[in-house]
Each structure stands twice: as C-alpha cells, then as structure tokens.
Amino acid sequence: MALKDVMDTEERDAYMLTNEAVVRAALEADVKVVSFYPGSPQTEILDTFEKVLPHMDDLRMEIATNEKVALETVAGASMVGMRSLTSMKSVGTNVASDALYSLAYTGVKGGCLCLIADDPHCHSSQSEQDGRWFGYTSYLPMLEPSTPQEMADMVRYAFDLSEEFGTIVLIRTTTRVNHQSSIVRLGPLNRTPFEEISWKENRRPYITVGEAARQAKAVLMDKIERMKRELEGSDLNRIVLFDGSELREIEGNEEGPSIGLISAGPCYLYSIESLMKLGTPMKVMKLGVINPIPERLVGEFIKDLDRVIIVEELFPYIEGFVKGIAKDVNPDIEIIGKGSGHFSEALEYNVPIVTRAIAGVTGLDLPFDHEAHLEKAGELASILPARLPLFCAGCPHRATLWSLQRAIRDKENLFLANDIGCYSMACLEPMSWSDSLICMGASMGIGAGAQYAAKEKVVALMGDSTLFHAGLPGIANAVHNNDDITLVILDNAVTAMTGQQSHPANPKGAGGFDARKIDIEGVLKGLGVEKIVNISSYDAIANIRKVKEAIDHDGPAVIISHQECALYHFRNYRHRGGKIVPFRVDKEKCEKAYNCIRDFMCPAISIDEVDGKAQIDPEICVGCGVCARLCGYKAIGSTAVDMGGEDRPYIEVDDYMELAKGGGSQTEKEEGVQKEVSE
C-alpha cells in the first residue's frame, strides 16, 4: 500500500488501487468522519483510512459493528454539517438499506458519500446482487466510475453534489473497478482543522414518519428531478466516436455510423478494447451517472441509430431505460443486450465475451479463436491439482472444527448452520460440511427454524465479528424461545477473513488506538444464556468432551472457542520479538497413518516423496502444535527441544523469551528480523 501516495502534498502521478484513490480524493475533499465495516472488494478503503488515521488529527474514523451503523454514523456527522464517507460491499448494503431509504427522505447537510461495491461472479460474496437498484429505488443519485482516476474525480465531485442538493450520493462499483490499479493524478491536499460545529445554531429536524414522511417524499421526488436536469449536462456522461482506429469527439455535423453502444463501469473499458480489436466504427455513450439516467441525452443518442448495443453486467438495468426511451424517440431501433440473448445476466464480463458479442452483431470475424486456444490450454492445465483457499497454518478454526467433528462422530446426526467468515470454509476440504450458509448472522435464525423441523440436533457456527454484526438478535431470539441450538462462537479477536480488522471484542479500534473490549461471555450471560462452555481452540483432544457436553445440553448452549487468528497473533508475536518455533516429524516414528493430513490439512504438512512420510515445512509452520496432539504415534514434536526447551508449543512472547534465554542462538533471532523486514 502506497501510504506516501495517499498522503503526499505534491501534485503528481501515482500508481494506485481504486480503493486507495477513494481515500486520496476524500482527503482532498476534506472529509472529516468515516466509518466502515470490512468486506471484499472494498476493504482496502477501510484499511487505507486506518493507515492514514495516526498521521491525521483532522479525521475521525470508526470500524463500525455493521454497515447500517456505519451509514448512520456518517449520516449523523453530515446532519451536523461535516463531510463524511462510508463504503460497503453489495450485500452489506442490504443491512444498511433500512437507514438508507429513510436518509433519502430526510436528506443530509455535510457532503455524505456511500460507496456500494458489487461483486459479479461472486468472487467473495454470496450473491451477484446488482446494487444499482438501490439508487433507483431510493431516489438517490448514483455514479459509476470505470477507472481509479474516474473514481478520484467522482469522489471529489460527489461531495459538492451532495451538499448542493442536501442528499447522500451513492457511488457504485464492481470488483474489477475496486481492484484495479492505475495512474492517478494527485490533486491539492489542503486539510482544514477538525472543529466541532454548534448544533443549536444549525438545528433542523431529520425526521421521517407519517405526514413528515409524505412531505419528504414530495421534496425527494422534486430533488431527483432537479438533479436529473443538472446531471444531464454533466461531463460524467460522454458521447464519443470510435472511428475504426481511435476514440474521438464527434465533430459538429458529422453523421457517423448508424450503430451505437451504451455502457458504464468496467464494461465500458471492455467495450472500447473490443471495438479496437474489431476495428469497427461505432458511436459510444459512456454513462457515469446511473441514477437518474440522463433520459434526454440517451434519447438524442439513440434517435438516429438503427441499432444500439447495451453492455452491462448483471441486470438489464440500463437496457430497461433505453427500451422505455426508445418507445418515444425511435421505436424501430434494434436493441441488442440481454433481452435479445446476446449477453448473459450471470457472471462478470471480459474483453473476449464483449468482442464475441459485438462481432456477432456486426458480422465481423473474430480476431482470435479463443475457443480453440482455451481448449488446448485447458487440456494442458488439467494435470494440475486445484488450489483452493483453506485455513492458514495455525488457524484456530481448523482445530475447533476438528474437535466438533470428533464430538458428534457422525455428521449425519446434525444440522450444521454455518455463517460468514473464514470458518465458512468448513464447507471445503477437509471437513466438506455445512448444511446452510446464508448471510451474516443467519446461522442462529436458520437454526431456530431447523430445530423445530428437523429430527436432528442443530449446531450453529458464528465468528466473533459476525456475532456483533448481526448475530446478537438471533441469540436473544433463541434464549427467549428456549430453542434447542448449540452455538459455537469462534472467537479469534479480529474480523479475520477481510484482513484482521478490529471489532468490539478487540481492545484496539480503528488505526490501532485503544478501544473498549467487550467481553463476549459477559454479553451472552447478559442475554441469559445458561450453558456456556469456554474452550481453548488448540486443545483439540480435550475439547472433544467439552463440545459434546454442550451439544448434549437441552436448549440454547454456547461454546466459545478462544484463540487469536493465527495471522494476527503471530504477526504481533513477531513484532514483539517472538520467533516462530516450528514443529517437525520424527521420521523414525511416522507410520504413514497421515492423521495429520487427511483430517487436518494444514498447509505446512506434505508427504516426503522419498520415504512417503509426513513432513513439516518450517517456513509455513507457526508451531501451534495441534497436529502433534492428533498423531497416534507421537511422531510430531517441537524443535524447541533443540534450544533446550520442552516438547510443546511456544506461541506466547514471554514463553519464547524464556526459551531464547535458555539457549536460543543469535542467528535465529536475526532470521526473525529478516522475516519481518521482507513482509
């Protein structure tokens, strides 16, 4: 991450991720309050703000418990008059949308931006939701950039637009824009001091209910009409000509081709590249404003065309508007898109997909036979094993799930309601097991229904961050109704999946500043959970009995499995001077039972091709020692014995310091420093 680029006062070109460009542009626009819940593909916005925070005393930031709280937080700051920003992944907007629709009615004061990052192809989401409908159905303006530079320009513009109309401005992206890097021109960075604003001098109601709501709706509809008129002329929407070799402005009375293309976001980029490959002249309309759709501009664009191609991922959103507009201005136009069968509503697009469609429409030959090429490459690559994501070396979830599986013996006897987090990977090898995986916090609600309907016992999984995000209502529900569910809370101290951000049960808040740590067991007791079993995740064997005891309990029971996320824990461990003490296999004792591999699948363990015995890669092993407990032949042990230590895990800094004093060599310490430096 290029912190220097995000904070540099020099106006120059920098190579940046779109998510970093958001931060840079918001800082240039003097944003004062930001709040986020992490979620791919927009997490780096949060991460970058966190890195900036310790260097800026004119900015306030929270890592919120969920997207709804984050949106409400920035809206509250905006009501008082400060510029504020939040962003969220597609499905996070569902959580925030209750507030969003009301805030559209009340309006805001200080420039207030809400970024929504969709994920066509479900790279890291549970559905291919199309967030463009949030803009349309809430009557809020929505912009969509194609590149990091456009994002920077739009963020700066959106703050002004937000204040001009007293409205939240939405900026919609997809994964390929959030995770695109390119050259961004840094603008002037002139921050003003953070100064509280007098509410009593600025007081006005932000209330929407009954008559107030009915009046607000009328104001809102007028507002979006006025915005439509203003945005029609915005240069965010552009009409250009691809003349067969390059993209240029259309000259005064130039007629140009009778075929046009309308697109937005990354699809615009795929379209331009496809046209360049095919060399076919075409009029092109790029929409930067996707709500309100500039109907007059679209009408002018299509009125003299014979055919128009609409290139957009997911819903035929733009296509629907174009069809409506065409009815009035050019009913005979041929509209090529999803309705015509040329494009799919599923998955993301790329240049080959768009090229093929345009070639099909224009009758051109494909410049390159992708099919044959892909077939040959696919055949050659078919010798490869899959490389799926899995629990990291030392991940406490692997150990907890191992114990759970042993406690229930046969997974046939259980309904396992999974939830969103790293532990979602229980549905992958080696567990290959989950009966439901729906959305944040759903495991308890699904579990409540399943425990009525199913003969089998219900076990629910939930991470600590998910617990505070959307899990608490489900637990309160289960306690109140005495639902027969055993909940396993995987307490690893951070929101691990998205990069180990803090959450309410972590003693640190945004930017690493001290925060109040909420005690999970205390919360559960307060909610009235009577059966609470605490386990330490790495005690895999001892935990079998404890997990079983909780499952055997009638009514709601909670197991809290405690152990910090391995990435988080061992990063801090090394920062504080600890050095990894890996485990190793005693080849004399290994009987090739492979318990350490088949049921455990730690990335540090493989099979030695020479003798067929298990081996541990000391570069990957973090020394958690769980595999040693599972080996029936006691063939796995700690390398600590070489340093005069005991045959047990050394994973706490104080513990390691004792070991190092007792004989740890200087060279090993130096290696530890090097490892740190290269990360």
Binding site: A2, D13, A14, Y15, S40, P41, T43, E44, H123, S124, T147, T175, R176, H179, Q180, S181, S182, I183, P266, L269, Y270, I272, E273, N350, V351, P352, F368, H370, H373, K376, A377, L380, A381, I383, L384, P385, A386, R387, L388, P389, L390, C392, C422, E429, G499, L567, Y594, I597, R598, M601, P603, I605, I607, E609, V673, Q674, K675, V677, S678, E679
Partner: protein, 202 residues
C-alpha cells in the same frame, strides 16, 4: 514498444505477488508510462492461487489481459504458471520459479491414495513449453545468494526486466524497489533484482 505489453503475474498466497506488481506499477508511474492492473484481493492470504493482470502502454484500456494475449507470464510457482497458461499469447514467454508448492488438497489426495504421486516439475514445464518459451529461474537459490531467502519475488521481477520487450528500464525498476520495500531490506532486494537480470542474460 509493444503496446500494450501484457503481463500475468501469479503465485501462491503469501509469496509476494501483489508486491511484485506494485513495484512494476510504481516504476511505470515514475517513467510516465500508462499502466493498468487487475487483481483480486480477499482470499489471497489463505494459500490460494493469486493472479494479477498488468498492462503497460497507451493502448492499455481494460484491466484484464484477454485470453491468449499475455506477452509474459511471471510465476512464483510453476503450477500457477500452467494454471493461467490460457492467458499466454502463442509464442509468449513464461518465466517461472522452479520450486513447486504442492497444495494441501493434493497432499490429502495422496494420503488417501487417490493419486499415485505429486505432479512433477517436469510434467508441469513440459506442458508449459507446449504453449510458449520457458525461462526457468531457481529464485530461492539466487535470493539466498542475495542475502535473504525472502526476496524471491524481486529476483523474479529482475528476470522479467531482462526481457528485450519489457517496456521499463531496469534503472527505473531499481528505483521503484528502493521506495517500495522496507528500508532494512533494500540491499538484499536490489542484489536479488540484479541476480534475476543476470540469470536471464546468461
């Protein structure tokens, strides 16, 4: 100069693939070259496959390299080079680190006797050669020679810089490395970078 110059950079989560592409991006920014990258974050830390598309030049328009158009695939792990071989243009170049990292899923299949053995390096590179030129770099060996086993990724960046078509001057990449890696690791990285260049030129 070929425009755009298309690259696929790939490897296994944790190998430093993102940093490799950031060094190249930084070098482009310093040189005034247009550069566009497409990547996926999120699951990369969890031993998963990581791939970054990067395109340099005025005609670099969209962030993804179309199938069959990569001039070079730069792989920190040979199986990953083959996994993304469909991006390579006919006659393109694959530069791969020689060390295999077997996925735990493959080990698991082996433990269950569902397969007879691990995929071999020879099988992998043989299939890569079916699609383009191959340059093999023992990057770990060179990284150790440079003084830090962890600069494997910089060795590989050096190897790519040595390609005649690569549009950025080695000196600019060196400067980008200097500002992109932690101060204590600059020397080892620069040494690794030079060894990577040398390995291709010899």
């Amino acid at each position: 100069m070929k425009d755009p110059f298309n690259m696929i950079t790939c490897g296994v989560g944790g190998q430093g693939v993102v940093r490799m592409s950031n060094v190249i991006g930084e070098a482009c920014a310093r040189t005034g070259l247009n550069v566009l990258s497409g990547e996926l974050h999120g699951l990369s830390q969890r031993s998963g496959s990581v791939v970054i598309h990067q395109r340099i030049g005025k005609r670099a328009i969209s962030p993804l390299v179309p199938y069959g158009e990569a001039d070079v695939i730069l792989a920190l792990e040979p199986m990953e080079a083959l996994r993304y071989i469909h991006f390579l243009r006919p006659g393109g170049t694959v530069i791969t680190n020689t060390a295999l990292t077997h996925p735990p899923g493959e080990t698991s299949e082996l433990a269950r006797k569902e397969i007879d053995g691990y995929v071999s390096y020879d099988e992998v590179v043989q299939n890569i050669r079916e699609m383009g030129d191959l340059i093999e770099i023992d990057a770990l060996d060179l990284a150790i020679e440079a003084g830090n086993a962890l600069v494997v990724n910089t060795v590989m960046v050096g190897a790519m810089t040595a390609l005649p078509d690569f549009p950025v001057e080695a000196e600019e990449v060196r400067k980008a490395i200097e500002v992109s890696v932690p101060k204590g690791a600059v020397d080892a990285n620069l040494k690794g970078f030079d060894l990577g260049i040398k390995a291709v030129n010899e």
